[in-house]
Symmetry: C2
Subunit: 192 residues, 2 copies
């Protein structure tokens, strides 16, 4: 499918508030920049960026039903914070509601919040773009942006580490995929 930026933006806009729509544009532009820097398909990065938060404001009970009923969605999401649901649920919804057929784009949307083990190049681009887009002010984000100038894996690792540390400092559980992302990226870097 050929990306039509305007059509895709027009599709997601009614589902987002102004602030989130502006975040979406910044993630998309960051994903394109990262793809130009580290390689990959710019059109896939653009489409994944535009669509990544599609389900962000969907009704929580509707998302719960998707998780319960779609066999592809991991049930353990239900015992973790609902803020993690919109990625995986959005990826499935987009197949139905947008006609998204690109499995790589779908997968990158699914794991954009948590990361996971064995992320694809596109998964990493979207995970990182969502973390470092210019509107983000997380503690430590500036260091991740600096790392993202030269090393995609190290920047994703730093983002996953910061997320784990942030949640641990807040005495919150951490979704296991984020731990798996940390371990996997750490091993890739240690063995490179």
């Amino acid at each position: 499918m050929r990306v039509n930026r305007e059509q895709a933006l027009h599709f997601v806009k009614p589902h987002l508030n102004t602030e989130r729509f502006e975040h979406t544009i910044r993630v998309t532009d960051t994903a394109i920049q990262l793809t130009e820097r580290f390689g990959g398909d710019v059109e896939q990065a653009e489409l994944a960026g535009i669509l990544h938060d599609y389900a962000k404001y969907r009704d929580r009970e509707e998302m719960r039903r998707w998780i319960l009923q779609d066999h592809r969605l991991p049930k353990d999401l239900l015992s973790h914070h609902h803020g993690l649901w919109h990625g995986p649920v959005g990826a499935v919804m987009l197949e139905f509601e947008y006609g998204l057929e690109d499995r790589e784009v779908s997968q990158a949307i699914a794991c954009h919040t948590t990361g996971k083990k064995n992320m694809s190049h596109l998964d990493k681009i979207i995970f990182l773009a969502d973390y470092i887009e210019p509107g983000r002010t997380f503690p430590g984000v500036e260091e991740v942006r600096k790392t993202a100038e030269s090393d995609l894996n190290k920047a994703c690792l730093a983002a996953a580490s910061n997320t784990i540390t942030f949640l641990m400092n807040k005495h919150q559980p951490v979704y296991p995929d984020t731990f798996h992302a940390y371990n996997n990226l750490q091993n890739i870097i240690l063995n490179s």
Copy 2:
């Protein structure tokens, strides 16, 4: 089995150097104190304390063969630091070499380094005793000792958190059971 402290100490002593034998005594005494504080079977705590590091200095290749050949031992140990092997391998070796039949003691020995999801009361006692025994000087250990005066779960959580933070700061992978221990204890505390 009735614990005979002297017999058990006599059994492990040839397998440990002086420093590690002294650590073993301190872990045992700490485990007994924690059991007196939080409840549980003092004899089980004593036996688990005495035996917990039994395999600490076993040959690495011998431990690797045990992991490969005993169906109860998780194979993913082999892709993690060998410093994590002596707990689970020791638990299995002790069944053969010491005649250890107490499954609860065996399990506490198996997970004493990493922790795990759904630790038993005895698992927590040994995991914590190994972390806070008076010879330990980990960063943050004093705070864990303080917490261990009143709350077993919170103290174990703090130990798991410190271990994760320590490894992340050293850019090392973290064995998944330690993450699972963190999440599980965090949820127990948040829901209590």
